[in-house]
Amino acid sequence: MSASLVANVVISGLLTGLVYGLMALGLSVIFGVVRVVNFAHGEMMTVAMYAAVLLFGAFKLDPILAALPVAAVFFVIGYALQAGLINPFITRPEHSQFILLVAVATIITNVMLMVFGPDAHSVQTDYQLDSWAIGQIIVDKSRVYAALCALGTTAGLFAFFRFSRTGTAIRACADNHLGALIVGLDVKHLYALTFGLGAACVAVAGCMMTLLVEVAPSVGPSYTLLGFVIVIVGGLGSMPGALLGGVLIGVSEAMAGLFIDPSAKSMFSFALLIVVLLFRPQGLLGRRT
């Protein structure tokens, strides 16, 4: 087990983790503010992936560039979904929310099966299989681009929530729902806005993912699970937390894969989730409510 092997694996885990973090970002935002358990998260990302693949197929549009229009569309869809369908469920018990989103997920998955068929699809950009060699370390280009995008999106979102008026208002809703109402904030609109933002994040993540994996109708559920693991570990409602959680999961899975059995590396993530849930349920960077 040479040092360069370990280094390669750590770097790879880090980059992958950042992409996972981007994927979980949307979930963290939605869960942290609106408190809705979005079990259709993975399916939403799958739709975004299909969108990126379609755009690439039709216009040869690079997924990184496609992220912008797809995110815009998803923002609108997310807003409408929250305002129209999900809003009455915020006060309903969790199991009702869960079934609502499971139903939505089922519909999405099977509509995609009907429209696109069961085949896997992907994009083929020129640089997709390129890598940089720095001495003994080999770094994957696509992963770097996706990771940079993750960092950029997180930074942007963080800035929005920290420095803008709307962002502050949303944070107020998250902290104190009743207080926000009293102060006169249009909570319904802000929730819908948040869901829209979360959906836009998912869209960006989906576009990035197409650089790395194939899309098929059935890939959604595993991403949903992964998203929740990362969000819990990183901390609810914390954007840097989502990235940190992603990185943690990415690197620990990589290490587990290297030193123990790769096929069991997911067990490690779930074990981590259990430990975090028990000992620090607010996650690493979340705040205790």
């Binding site: 069961p118 085949d119 699809h121 997709q128 080999i138 194939e214 098929a216 595993s222 790769p262 997911s266």
Partner: protein, 413 residues
């Protein structure tokens, strides 16, 4: 939410339930006139296994016309979707029998096939398994279950010996291999088979220096590939599925790992269309040894022609395995029907048991069932991706091209 007039939930559900109950309690189709054979085809056409299920379906769809011209028998196909789910598989099987299916064909997935087999045996309706590798299916002492597909044990043995043939044909001395396998049913069977049979296969002189099992649902295999590359073996022995085979090969390129080649003893994935489409030139020279159709088989031309007519957008080579075995399963039923002259299930089962068909689509000896209802002579082919298309390179009598090993990008480290 405004409460406007609409059918109440209860009325709707009652109506639907009534529909289901009424159709279920309708008198069982008594007409067993020996004019038309009803074949119930059970396949996973939605959910996780949809891709392969729908591929198999193509073989079922073209069967009636081909078998009519070939054997002069009338066949009606009754389709059912197992939804990649064992509960659904069982109830759909019951439903097909209830609706008058004389024979069942299916179901690709071993768990679902086992559930259907129990129903078939219970009801005395023959089941001809098109694809399913778990050995247990034909080890239950069933009298109504027949399988025209190699068991996992056969697959392993055939696949491994073909590797030996490959080395012999290309004159290569590969001494070490790193073995990567997906941790699923097939991967596990392969691992067990390899561990058991490799020491005994004298013509296979290579040693496995590292074994890396990976999760079929893994999105990222860079760690596994790093580990495999570090083993510095001559070639990669790989057991995989479609999605992970693509991710893996991509990571091999990204990490600049150029072994002598990638050889798969027989799992799905590599010969599927998406593999070549996604990887472009990097798909070339990868080798797989699946049970395959015989490009020069007696029936292959006819079936391929029918396939092309029905599915102008698809290439037969990507569906030959799934559609071919499904077609053969229905052909077995049709042939038995012709010999039995009746649709009585017991007569059909006896006729199937006496099957002896040597004009085939698939590679192997004649279709003959042993005492357990298993066909013993099915063979695999060494298939290599050349110019973006899977081509048979071994055995020589069925070959379409010559094998290339080691592949061109191999650099002696």
């Amino acid at each position: 939410m405004t409460q406007s007039k609409r059918i109440s939930r209860r009325q709707f559900n009652t109506a639907i339930a009534g529909l289901g109950a009424a159709s279920a309690l309708a008198p069982f189709g008594i007409a067993r006139a020996a004019s038309k054979l009803k074949v119930g085809v059970l396949l996973p056409r939605s959910s996780y296994e949809a891709l392969i299920g729908q591929s198999c379906q193509l073989g079922a769809d073209l069967a009636p016309a081909v078998l009519k011209s070939m054997l002069g028998v009338d066949i009606e196909i009754m389709n059912a979707d197992t939804e990649s789910n064992v509960n659904t598989a069982r109830t759909r099987a019951e439903r097909l029998i209830h609706e008058g299916a004389h024979v069942l064909v299916g179901a690709f997935d071993s768990g679902q096939t086992a559930a259907i087999a129990q129903v078939a045996e219970q009801r005395g309706v023959p089941l001809v398994v098109n694809i399913a590798a778990a050995p247990q299916i034909t080890e239950q002492g069933y009298k109504y279950v027949f399988r025209n597909f190699p068991t996992a044990i056969d697959l392993v043995r055939n696949g491994l010996s073909l590797i030996g043939d490959l080395f012999q044909a290309t004159g290569v001395e590969a001494r070490t291999a790193v073995f990567m396998h997906v941790n699923d049913t097939f991967g596990q069977a392969m691992t067990g088979g390899i561990m058991k049979t490799l020491p005994h296969l004298k013509q296979l002189k290579f040693k496995i220096v590292d074994t890396i099992a990976y999760d079929p649902a893994a999105k990222d295999l860079s760690v596994e590939v790093s580990r495999a590359k570090a083993a510095n073996a001559d070639f990669l022995l790989l057991v995989c599925r479609l999605n992970d085979s693509i991710v893996l090969r991509r990571d091999m390129v990204k990490q600049r790992w150029h072994p002598m080649g990638v050889v798969d003893p027989g799992s799905p994935g590599i010969y599927e269309e998406q593999f070549a489409k996604s990887l472009g030139k990097y798909a070339n020279y990868v080798v797989d040894n699946p049970p395959w159709y015989n490009p020069k088989g007696a029936l292959t031309g006819m079936v391929e022609e029918a396939f092309r007519k029905r599915n102008p957008g698809e290439k037969f080579v990507y569906h030959g395995l799934n559609a071919g075995y499904t077609f053969e399963a229905i052909m077995i039923a049709a042939d038995a029907f012709r010999r039995a002259g009746s649709t009585d299930p017991k007569a059909l089962a006896d006729a199937i048991r006496a099957t002896d068909i040597d004009k085939r689509v698939m590679l192997g000896g004649p279709i003959k069932f042993n005492a357990k209802g298993q066909v013993e002579g099915n063979l695999s082919a060494c298939v290599q991706i050349l110019d973006g298309v899977p081509k048979v390179v071994l055995p020589e009598y069925a070959a379409e091209a010559k094998p290339v090993f080691p592949w061109p990008e191999y650099k002696k480290a």
